[in-house]
Assembly symmetry: C2
Homo-oligomer: 774 residues x 2
């Protein structure tokens, strides 16, 4: 049976792979990855295969392999692998006959189950593997194996399991070997340290085997400490093997001491303290934490013709929470979450533009941690600006530990024409990240109304980013305007362009917002004004902003109503992209053209002008949006997973609901879909944030316009009903949308909530119904 | 068909594995490893398997992964792997049906051939892989693949091949990623640099594919540069794929410039220059170099009841030459040659005691390079002595780059009782290495008569090592004797013992030899004496040596005639070792006892007292040797591959020829035998030197006694005739031994060669026959 994804209307919490294929390991390693935000691990099979990718990534533990490399999340020693030798034969599903292979993740509980029958040269066995990463105890993971001997012969087993530090990040090893040993006669421990950042890990494993004639012996090899268990399973008999493990690191913010001896004692103490609880008890405890922290918080219910729509939002929420280091504001979300090494665990604009909205509207505490990370990154951003000859804060295109500053690698994939590695310009000239960060700060402040945070941290970011733009603008004497030249915009297929519309408009917004902020602080929060004035000389800053903002070149529509993506885009060659859009893998374009060639064609990687029209929808008329949508979408390859959700929301806004639903299902299937290779390097975290946005922003019609809440739902014809909820400035609001219209309910007794709908300003006090068609 | 070793009387140059087993990859990866002394590579299969160990090791390129680790030979980017996808199915011999799998190494030419039929889901193919590392061009390697489509369907192929730098040494990565790219549209190049020692590698690969519809595209990933070739092989058709590759490094002594650009140009230039020669032409050229440099030099012919005896000496010579960096005196032989990472490429006493004799007697130029390495190591040895509070030269137990000094790792395998890693004491207290080095120097000088080298380098080593012992001796006031306490002797199962006989006798020899040397220089080479006197103050040194040598405690036989291995050995418990001696794997003892426990028993890892009796045979009577042999051998586990050859030679000397032949076959089979796991970490280089010694020293009866050549052959009953040859002080001598006796022939017109045989001094001028029984 070939490996395929299997979903069922009967279990809207389960994603399943049915059938095994050793060439298609990556998909479910990634989309069934386990995690709790503190650490994440890919769900590689217990037994080993060529091509497997085992990853255990602890948020924030960045390290640089060498001064020539940037920091990345190091792949920690593995504690999941188990290798079985059964009466002389190594368990491998490549050989023999495999029955009823099922690998499934219960999104609600975070439990991964892998189950199959295996017949091989007279052996007839059933294996059931269960595992989870505890949401209730951030350091703990556990696995439970049941082996049933269905054959007529008694079988002997050797099982090798423990801690294996031979893994690396694609060959770059981030850890010293570290001390290793056996504690209290049963706890395997290994204490590797990252080579550059000096973070010590304490990893501990303990086993419990129930079988006949169990013996064990320890193997300590280089970078490995394993227990080899030998036992017998008689014909018709069963054996079980449980393994519990934990990870601590010397940057953990829940430890009183980072002394290695203390950490070792804490690790052993925690495993000791749960020794009398069963696997199922620990799983129940963890599932309870998932329920309390995620599933009971503004649940989304979709009545759709396609049950996978419901599953998709749970899948998205599962991974957003498994991958977000909500426990530590020094950390942020990686582009692949904690599900793969790709993008090195780095944080991009993906957070602010694609994921932050979910957290701001549903988990404001987590959103606060995410924006605080940018506050902690101010120093690095100031340093980057200064190093480049600018002022203020220039945020790094890729961010790791806040003080790491810019960590975008310099070299990328091969150029098919020259055969040389391509230079990645984003770290140098993809300037829009700075206003994206400002955009996220504003979003957080508007949605939560968190004035304390704004005063302590948010305003400073908004002023420092505005100050950066002042220094970045270039005066064009001929045209008597400020320009931003030699940039990469959201469409990374265009390098070294001038006046990318998205970049210029967002820079301009950042400046005008700072002007308004200074004015408002002056009149409404004089103490805060006084404090910031010391740092910024606000009067002078405002004067300069006022002087320059009016002269910033904001690309205007052509006679045909098209906003040029940049100064030269519209003059470039147009080619038919159909075959590249249909292709299974992103980037298929680059088998035929190199980046220089693509640079000279009207080909857009992802929403660029269209994203501008979405983020600043109030600046543009619907007619203009329609024209630009029809112009740019056919030229867009959607090679970035950030593209489809933007198109879905925008087309929903524009009333193109069939098209919107089409984009929705495409985006939904980026990770969950049938194609078994697309998620190999890890899940697409921004796209998962996009799933929530498509539902709540796109079809639910929720939006922040300037600083006002607007709710204008428009369900696609495939959906009969949508229920969702969100927090807004301290109030908890539930929404239901169906053919009759929108019903909002506000919990608690707080002030009424004012919102826009159909051009009217309404106020929600308890419950309000807005009939459809308004 | 299970994987087994297969040898045939019909081809005494071939070792073969018949049948494939993915669990038994290590054996032939190692024993069929390719090399030319400049670099060596394990013969891993082209396609990938779990558990494979790919190694490409360039002699001398030591690097430390981290300050907490010692330097080791780094595993360079692989250039042998090829992964095949055949109409959608990945080639893997784990699945489908494999026919007539044969993997074989032609020892004469150095060609590796791997051949099999593979049927899988309708595909029916025959593959033939051929490869070699050029003996004629030290930087070059080549492989040639023939694919025959025996099935009825046309098949499409994708073959991925290039340079893969994701490999490491058991997880420790020694290289920066390095620049990589495509040169002249066809040469893949990668230029990684070792992280600590700063050695830059230039690795280059070029392909030539002959098939239908060939297309290719380049993949540049992290630490990888690959060409993916796609082509078609019609039913009944054939395709061929040739790959040539080269390695250069910035420590190469045959390069005029170590500038990377220059090295890249040299690499491309060399591959360009041989582009018009076929694979077979290049192989013939390489085989010619093997023939000229190895096989025509003193060939050994054994008429034996067991043809494997003949094969074994060729196997030994093949690997001794494949692994010995004869081209560069800054390098020496690793304990695993260049066939595996084990022992980190480090040089031990294995060189002087087990391998140097082969080279001194047959390839004096190589022997000179090996002893010169120790001369270059004097500085490190002086530093080690000084760091430990001693004088003179204390050689490192493990040596890497000469200036690295001591590189023995501090921690070893797990203690089965405590579960903690065991401390390796050899680097601290295994003192005998220093007199072993002196012993090797003397051997080289005696056998070659190379006075120039002796004057320039050898005498200095002999005096510095003697000076070390003066500072190392400890005065026992009670017994009025000098002792050497708290040592590890050759038997490494005894740590922290006092007065290990081997150590004390060799230290004493080192001192008395220095006295004789000073005397003889004074009278016979006054100019040399004068030069060394400046450095050593020879009169004072001699006075001190003379004063102390007579008081060195030399353990004397007990009443039963047993020389105690150390002060306490004979008082320890004796246990029955039968089951451990029979066990397949060395070290099986340590599944039942830990080192502390073994320390308290009369268990010896390898020849210790017996090695003393062999190396200094003139000091001891035959009767005493017999008693000690009978006492110690049953207590010896032979867990070191250095043990059996010593026992074989000593028992041959003692007239126990059946037993000697038994040891010989056991030693012969350490690598070549049927047991498929023993060579996984690499071949046993010292044991290979031992094979030559067992034949020429043991059965051929050749020996240096003091400074005199002795030849007293004694063939085992299984051998009808033995022919061998050697160089002695510039003269080339051939020997034949059969039932009639010994016939010696001297080539050329030089002086007669005086030698001892049967107690008489004889002189060989042209040919001499010594009848048996003398």
């Amino acid at each position: 049976m070939p490996a395929t994804m299997h979903y069922s209307r009967d279990n809207l919490w389960q994603i399943e792979q049915a059938g095994f294929d050793h060439l298609l390991l990556g998909k479910t390693e990634a989309i069934m990855a386990l995690g709790n935000g503190y650490f994440g691990t890919r769900s590689a099979e217990e037994e080993s295969y060529v091509g497997e990718q085992r990853d255990t990534l602890v948020a924030g533990t960045f390290n640089a392999f060498h001064p020539t490399e940037v920091t990345e999340l190091p792949n920690a020693p593995d504690m999941w692998a188990m290798n079985f030798t059964i009466s002389g034969a190594v368990l491998s599903l490549i050989k023999g006959t495999v029955h009823d292979y099922s690998k499934r993740l219960d999104l609600r509980t975070g439990e991964l189950t892998r189950e199959f029958g295996w017949e091989y040269e007279g052996r007839n066995l059933k294996f059931t593997f269960r595992r989870f990463v505890s949401k209730a105890r951030r350091h703990v993971m556990a696995s439970f194996v049941t082996i049933e001997n269905l054959g007529s012969e008694d079988l002997t087993f050797q099982v090798s399991s423990g801690i294996d530090g031979r893994y690396s990040n694609e060959g770059s090893q981030h850890f010293t070997e570290g001390e290793k040993g056996l504690v209290e006669g049963k706890y395997l421990q290994m204490m590797p340290t990252t080579t550059q950042s000096g973070i010590t890990f304490v990893q501990t494993v303990v086993h419990d085997v129930h079988a006949d004639k169990v013996t064990s012996h320890i193997e300590i090899e280089r970078r490995r400490i394993l227990l080899d268990h030998s036992f017998t399973v008689p014909s018709g008999g069963t054996a079980t093997l449980e393994r519990r493990a934990s990870i601590y690191t010397s940057i953990d913010n829940d430890l009183a001491s980072h002394d290695v001896a203390d950490m070792r004692a804490v690790a052993v103490g925690e495993l000791d303290s749960i020794a009398d609880r069963s696997f199922d008890q620990l799983l129940t405890e963890s599932a309870g934490a998932w329920d309390e922290r995620v599933w009971r918080v503004h649940p989304i219910i979709i009545d759709s013709d396609d049950f996978r729509d419901q599953l998709a939002i749970r899948f998205a929420q599962y991974h957003l929470h498994a991958s977000t280091p909500a426990h530590d504001e020094r950390m942020n979300i990686g582009a692949k979450g904690l599900t793969g090494e790709n993008y090195k665990g780095h944080t991009f604009w993906d957070t602010e533009v694609f994921m932050l909205p979910y957290f701001a509207f549903t988990h404001p505490d987590i959103a606060k941690s995410l924006v605080t990370y940018r506050y902690l990154g101010l120093e690095g951003a100031r340093n980057k600006a200064e190093a480049n000859g600018y002022r203020g804060a220039q945020y790094p295109w890729e961010a790791a530990w806040p003080s790491d500053g810019e960590v975008t690698p310099v070299w990328g994939a091969a150029d098919i024409v020259t055969g040389q590695a391509t230079k990645i310009w984003s770290g140098f000239i993809e300037y829009h990240i700075t206003s994206d960060v400002a955009f996220g700060v504003k979003l957080y402040m508007d949605v939560t109304g968190d004035l304390d945070w704004a005063r302590a941290k948010g305003y400073e970011i908004l002023l420092e980013t505005a100050r950066f733009w002042l220094s970045r603008l270039e005066w064009n004497g001929e045209k008597q305007q400020y320009e931003i030249n030699d940039v990469v915009g959201p469409d990374e297929y265009k390098e070294h362009v001038n006046n990318n519309a998205f970049t210029n408009y967002l820079a301009h917004w950042n400046m005008t917002y700072a002007i308004d902020l200074i004015d408002s602080l002056h009149t409404q929060q004089p103490e805060v004004y006084a404090k910031l004035d010391e740092q910024f000389d606000l009067e002078a800053l405002k004067a300069q902003l006022v002087d320059m903002e009016g002269k910033v070149h904001l690309p205007q529509p052509t006679a045909e109503g098209i906003i040029p993506q940049d100064d030269t885009y519209l003059s470039k060659e147009v080619i038919d992209l159909t075959r590249y859009k249909a292709h299974d893998t992103v980037g298929s374009l680059f088998r035929d053209y190199n980046l220089d060639q693509v640079n000279d064609m009207q080909i857009t990687k992802q929403a660029d002008v269209l994203l501008l029209l979405l983020l600043h929808e109030d600046l543009f008329e619907k007619e203009l949006k329609l024209k630009n949508f029809d112009y740019y979408e056919p030229k867009t390859t959607h090679d970035s997973s950030l593209s489809l959700s933007t198109h879905a929301i925008l087309s929903a806004d524009l009333g193109k609901l069939d098209q919107a639903y089409g984009f929705f299902t495409q985006a939904r299937d980026i990770d969950m879909g049938e194609y078994m290779k697309s998620s190999d390097p890890g899940i697409h975290a921004a796209s998962l944030g996009g799933i929530w946005q498509m539902i709540v922003f796109g079809f639910g019609g929720v939006r922040m316009i300037e600083d006002k809440l607007r709710i204008e739902p428009h369900l696609p014809s495939e959906w009969q009903k949508l229920s969702f909820g969100f927090d807004y400035q301290g109030q908890s609001i539930s929404a239901t949308v169906d053919e009759k219209g929108l019903t909002l309910t506000k919990a608690g007794t707080g002030d009424g909530v004012t919102f826009l709908s159909g051009g009217e300003e309404l106020t929600l006090t308890d419950t309000i119904h807005v009939p459809s068609g308004r």
